[in-house]
């Protein structure tokens, strides 16, 4: 399953990337599953995406929850709580 994954602001700096095209195994079906997969890379990925970190996720540009499903072709974004205005 192919996903476009984006990272923003402090999170993208910590991870050293703004995004990537990912081919994920079919076992990954939700936002939570994708987060666990990315944490499995270890290092900054494991610490920056750890549970308990203030993190927001959007699927196809709509705010999502851990249980939100992801499917092939989706755009998934991880980012810190917003600070505009």
């Amino acid at each position: 399953m192919k996903l476009k994954v984006l990272y923003f602001a402090a999170l993208s700096e910590r991870l050293g990337t703004r995004g990537e095209d990912l081919d994920v195994p079919p076992a990954v079906t939700t936002v939570a599953g994708l987060r666990t997969l990315l944490m499995g890379r270890g290092g900054a990925w494991e610490s920056a995406l750890a549970q308990g970190k203030a993190l927001r996720v959007a699927v196809n540009q709509e705010i999502a929850l851990p249980a939100t499903p992801v499917k092939s072709g989706d755009e998934v974004a991880f980012f810190p709580p917003v600070t505009g205005g």
């Binding site: 923003f8 602001a9 959007a58 540009q61 810190p80 709580p81 600070t83 505009g84 205005g85």
Partner: protein
């Protein structure tokens, strides 16, 4: 377009004039302008950079405007938000709401800012004498947004 993201500055007077041109039914105009301060959390700020999520930002702001229009009897809404590098004194955000009477225009304007602060994907990075830092989200902003009853989409 009721929502604009741009790097360049804006002229609030010109924006308001355009919004109410040939609209004799408008009796009230409420506006808010957020500007860049020279200090935050006790530290001097010399410059800030505003990052956003292109596409989602516009969509989030359009949803907030639609939600405000469904809650209050207002006419036109304009939101202009700048991104990129800003310095103290620079303008950051403009919200303008027109309506027949002030009460609904004030409420809609405040609601839009409270929701923008907690739902629109913008992030501020500050330059200080001690180096650069990302601004942390404030719990007071969450509390301000929670004063308004949740939209139907959040309740479901």
């Amino acid at each position: 377009m009721p929502v604009r993201i741009q790097t360049q500055d804006f002229d609030a007077g010109a924006e308001i004039a355009a919004l109410r041109r040939n609209r004799p039914e408008v009796g009230a105009i409420a506006s808010f302008i957020g500007v860049c301060r020279d200090a935050n959390d006790g530290t001097a700020v010399t410059k800030m950079t505003l990052e956003h999520y292109p596409g989602m930002t516009e969509r989030a702001l359009e949803n907030i405007v639609a939600e405000a229009k469904s809650r209050w009897n207002v006419m036109e809404v304009l939101v202009v938000h700048r991104v990129g590098e800003l310095k103290p004194i620079d303008q950051i955000v403009l919200v303008v709401v027109t309506g027949a009477h002030r009460g609904e225009a004030f409420s809609a304007c405040e609601f839009i800012m409270d929701y923008l602060k907690t739902r629109a994907p913008f992030w501020k990075k500050e330059e200080t004498p001690q180096g650069t830092r990302w601004v942390e989200a404030r719990s007071s902003d969450d509390e301000a947004a929670q004063r308004w009853s949740p939209p139907k989409a959040d309740v479901a």
